[in-house]
Symmetry: D2
Subunit: 239 residues, 4 copies
Amino acid sequence: MTPIRVTVWGENRHEKTDPPVAARYPDGMHAAIASGIRSHLGQGAVVRTATLDEPEHGLTEDMLAATDVLTWWGHIAHDDVDDAVVERVHRHVLSGMGLLVLHSGHFSKIFIKLMGTTCSLQWRNEHDRELVWTVDPTHPIAEGVPHPVELGEHEMYGEFFDIPAPDELIFISSFTGGEVFRSGATFRRGHGKVFYFSPGDQAYPIYHNEHVQRILANAVRWARTTRPDRTLPQVRRAT
Amino acid sequence: MTPIRVTVWGENRHEKTDPPVAARYPDGMHAAIASGIRSHLGQGAVVRTATLDEPEHGLTEDMLAATDVLTWWGHIAHDDVDDAVVERVHRHVLSGMGLLVLHSGHFSKIFIKLMGTTCSLQWRNEHDRELVWTVDPTHPIAEGVPHPVELGEHEMYGEFFDIPAPDELIFISSFTGGEVFRSGATFRRGHGKVFYFSPGDQAYPIYHNEHVQRILANAVRWARTTRPDRTLPQVRRAT
Amino acid sequence: MTPIRVTVWGENRHEKTDPPVAARYPDGMHAAIASGIRSHLGQGAVVRTATLDEPEHGLTEDMLAATDVLTWWGHIAHDDVDDAVVERVHRHVLSGMGLLVLHSGHFSKIFIKLMGTTCSLQWRNEHDRELVWTVDPTHPIAEGVPHPVELGEHEMYGEFFDIPAPDELIFISSFTGGEVFRSGATFRRGHGKVFYFSPGDQAYPIYHNEHVQRILANAVRWARTTRPDRTLPQVRRAT
Amino acid sequence: MTPIRVTVWGENRHEKTDPPVAARYPDGMHAAIASGIRSHLGQGAVVRTATLDEPEHGLTEDMLAATDVLTWWGHIAHDDVDDAVVERVHRHVLSGMGLLVLHSGHFSKIFIKLMGTTCSLQWRNEHDRELVWTVDPTHPIAEGVPHPVELGEHEMYGEFFDIPAPDELIFISSFTGGEVFRSGATFRRGHGKVFYFSPGDQAYPIYHNEHVQRILANAVRWARTTRPDRTLPQVRRAT
């Protein structure tokens, strides 16, 4: 099988203005995410990165057409993402491009557009311990992952998480405060496959965690569609 | 229990320009839909109608705030629906208003916004016989409905229907040409409940069919949420 | 609508041999469960009880035929339940009787038979605090319930819970130890509706909790099928 | 990746007593099924067969322990399958062995045990044309399959099919008589993955159809679990 063409998209703003984030992720969060995927997939993937401040956010038509799976991390600048680019990404997802939406990406324009809901949730940033439990142990995204994955400190994301009922619920997290969260879930949209995964706040070194890296690599493999064409489902008059 | 406040929304354009449609539905398709719901729910519902050419399409903030369940039929004028009204309806659905999307409403702005997909499908308007089979016989929307419901002539809607996997698949239709369609399906979005039902083309007297009327009445009952408040799921900082 | 005919089935063994349980539930756990349902449904339900040590465990053909919804609590004596009675209950569920399976009933013969899996889980009985979070806020079973329901002390039930993916996941619990559990879930089987709800260990006064009582009453209402007949889905040769 | 170890199980009774079936499948239906899988998976699979009249039906503990995916075709002799073997197969499925249940296998002991329902359906054996439509076009089991697959003549299987709501509904069939059927569906049970596929009556040469062969080969690939161990989900006391 040919290598999976992955584009890791990062907002890359905290890294420029927040020294602790820059220290944690000296090349940007996107670089750490890309590195984790590369380390797990090796020759099985070709991983590029793109960021908000590039022209067209680095997500040109050509770039997307050459992308099997896109990962999306954004937080403080969702509104700066151009609507035309969001439309383009949406069209590519429905045409068969895989999409991984990460952490605060729950409030990105593209995720809200794909879900149809507010995508709101409860949160608290006070160094809770997060435990990520697998509730779908045969799912390929959970392959090789401990039960639970322990994240020593992380931002709390809690229910109610306003998303459609997932097609598959893979992970549920708990937090020190007793909250729970559907932290790993899949959704099929058009010809594309979407995975949301909540761990990954900029204030913690989550993307250096080997198990998180494994989950993202598994998800990249899962999200590549088996359809070689890249076509939008279309209305057609039957004869 | 207080009566369900139903608003039946109709595009009401074919009825003005297409004499056979006007003959079939002399008071408009919305009037026939409303009448069918009334006949089944009696004192259990207060049914009003609203149409595209009214100010704000008849869907003011006050009107929606006083609506438990909205039904939506549109076809040739989806683009004439004001985006601000679509946003308003969307907010009310996510806040707990039930929504029934009918037939060609699959291409309405509100349905596409709630689904996140193209909502495209295959079609052919050649008087196919449609059989509507129940595949979820305990669902309240299927209560009292024959298996199958036979519609002597109808427009064919066929797969692939580009929607998210439904929360509940209740009806599957077949057509003379051999096509199949997921013709009755539910989706929860935010605090609201959505039912899509495909029978109902303007060129056939579908809304005079007693079984179709029963299904719509059942769906109105199902779609009223049990939440007395009308609130949007909201992001909240936990303590 | 006629009152819902509810039969609350209890194993009723701990109550006879374990003084703290007897003190907590002087008339048996089944009596407390029945009382909670009655207090919420009032004239809307007729609630009877039956226990393991009655002839045919109190679940004769006539008794089941006159039952709209059966609730099941068992723990130390699953093996003492007669296989013929299990077959009978199974037939009635598939014919349209609602079933609520409570707590340690996850290992009952009837639940395993309906699920097809081991129904195993993780557990620890060390007075964890349990928080029951609603993840499907429009579901009628969650109506009127705080988010979360706090149970000061309870046995821990944790994932992986070996059940089929639920049709609807309504509640997720967390525990002091950080574990999570899908604590409220629905399953349709044949013409019947099944709800599993995990709170309810004999060592804690869970069935005296008003919110637990509300959930069980809501579930009774939900589990009554709309089908007036009581028929098994049957193979039939079509013509 | 190591080759998938497939065991194709066939009842192999019609072939011995019904000359037209023997003519259609001179080496048995199981041989044709095995041949189709081999032709699509090549070096990617090692395919063996086993039949009812072998000792332990050819499904010894060793045989199952060395099987990644088992396919099951039975029809007139479900009752002749030893309950101990059914228990053994059930244990292996829940431990991670994939299972494909074919056509009349809907009434096999193993399928009923895994589903928990009657698994009944409607049928008519009168040479209907069957069209198999894909409703989940991104699913790997549907890869490379025309929409629809046309089966010139086949037995009709119709709804209501008494199964739990599938985890994924991939195919829906229609028949000349206008009936519909959920003809391809997946279910996760324990650590195992199950696929039901309805085409395959002994009175028609269905397993010689290249598209049916492709679907079965795709399903074999899908059903192999990613878990290298073969363990039953087990109750465990947490500390």
